[in-house]
Symmetry: C2
Subunit: 246 residues, 2 copies
């Protein structure tokens, strides 16, 4: 009575198919346009089977978010391994976030949806937990870099500022800015020409304000970013160049 391995494999693969279709629908038609019936229609099996894999529409969305979180976590890990000072490594993580955002806007979108809405109710708990873990992992990666800098006496944190809090702030600035991007034309009217670059600068300025050495007056962090791109993300950069203009 155990199902044959071939069948089992097919069932595994189906999950990917579903998520692929769902992601495209989310991109093209938004949250409300991504209906379970439409997904079922585009994969070649029925809604009932769909619900065998995912307990609810929100569960599908959460699975998408989880893929996203995993991708981002992978990007962060690669960046955090950059060979350089803690501040360079933190810069590398920022570059990774930027690249992730540019290459995978759909991923970023599904993350946002999961976090912004109260969709967390009808979700498989283990999936929810895994999403949280990814977030915690990314946070931990960055916090470890801060702690390295403190250990090396390149950064002296004020008493009220914990490493975790500093991470929270950098994270908030970046994700907040990316969330606010919306319509580029509207931004231009507000006098914001290049928000992504602005975020890079703002992070550096903030770290300068904290006195995290080497200060950006003493080190060319723009160069670090270029190095991170070419060393940690060579393939992704090639991909980025070929992408349609953002």
């Amino acid at each position: 009575m155990p199902p044959s391995p071939a069948k089992a494999r097919e069932i595994e693969l189906r999950e990917e198919t579903i998520l692929g279709v769902a992601r495209q629908l989310l991109l093209d038609r938004g949250y409300f346009g991504m209906t379970m019936d439409r997904i079922a229609e585009q994969v070649d099996f029925s809604k009932g089977t769909l619900y065998g894999h995912f307990g609810s529409k929100e569960d599908v969305l959460c699975a998408l978010a989880l893929e996203s979180e995993r991708k981002r976590t992978e990007f962060f890990q690669r960046a955090a391994r950059f060979d350089g000072s803690p501040r360079e490594r933190m810069t590398a993580v920022g570059a990774a976030y930027e690249l992730y955002f540019r290459l995978h806007p759909t991923y970023f979108r599904s993350e946002q949806l999961i976090h912004s809405q109260e969709l967390l109710t009808k979700i498989a708990p283990e999936r929810q937990a895994e999403v949280m873990q990814c977030g915690a992992k990314c946070h931990g990666l960055m916090t470890a870099i801060v702690e390295d800098a403190v250990r090396l006496r390149q950064l002296a944190l004020p008493r009220t500022l914990t490493p975790g809090t500093l991470t929270f702030l950098l994270w908030s600035l970046t994700s907040g800015a990316y969330s606010n991007l919306g319509d580029p034309e509207h931004l231009r009217q507000l006098g914001v020409a290049n928000p992504v670059e602005a975020v890079r600068h703002a992070c550096q300025t903030f770290l300068d304000g904290l006195g995290w050495k080497a200060l950006s007056t003493q080190h060319d962090y723009a160069k670090t970013v270029r190095q991170v791109f070419s060393r940690c993300f060579p393939e992704e950069m090639a991909e980025a160049i070929l992408m349609p203009a953002a």
Copy 2:
């Protein structure tokens, strides 16, 4: 056949009633719990009449967001009039945002919903435009403060950083952090004890990094914040003290 003034007044007032009920539902039961039928049930007239005032559920939500934006704009205006240096006035605006966030979490929530989701499709255009205007107004208030500082030579912006962009960054940091608050217990596990205070410090550190005078080493901006609260928002502070613990 022109409707009697009494009737007309009643109709006007109804709009407020609807929004009050809607806001409470949004707070208690979330976006999906706020159904048109429930709203109709709690006000004492029917769904049809409801749809005479608001074209769709999203339109109701947008009206809520508009109230919020107006409230925030008013807070910002009062703060921007604070009697002090440009940097003190910018600090005042930050304090106003903080107060707004603390006093009106529901308001903040409806704003977020409007901006985060693709709810903008089925909305009365004039309402949508008004929301945008409020946003632009707040942005303009802050940008004007930056420009004052530049004019007074208390701030020298790098060539690539426009006043509008600086506003965008401060805004992103603050709103991004507030959006990420979510569960305080979870934050504590990440080593974030007092996020709101952390945001205040981060803004100051960022401005220090830009060299906006007077630097926070030369001036006590915590004192400025206290002054702003007591001078610009005396009544709201009394209210805040009486509020249930956040």
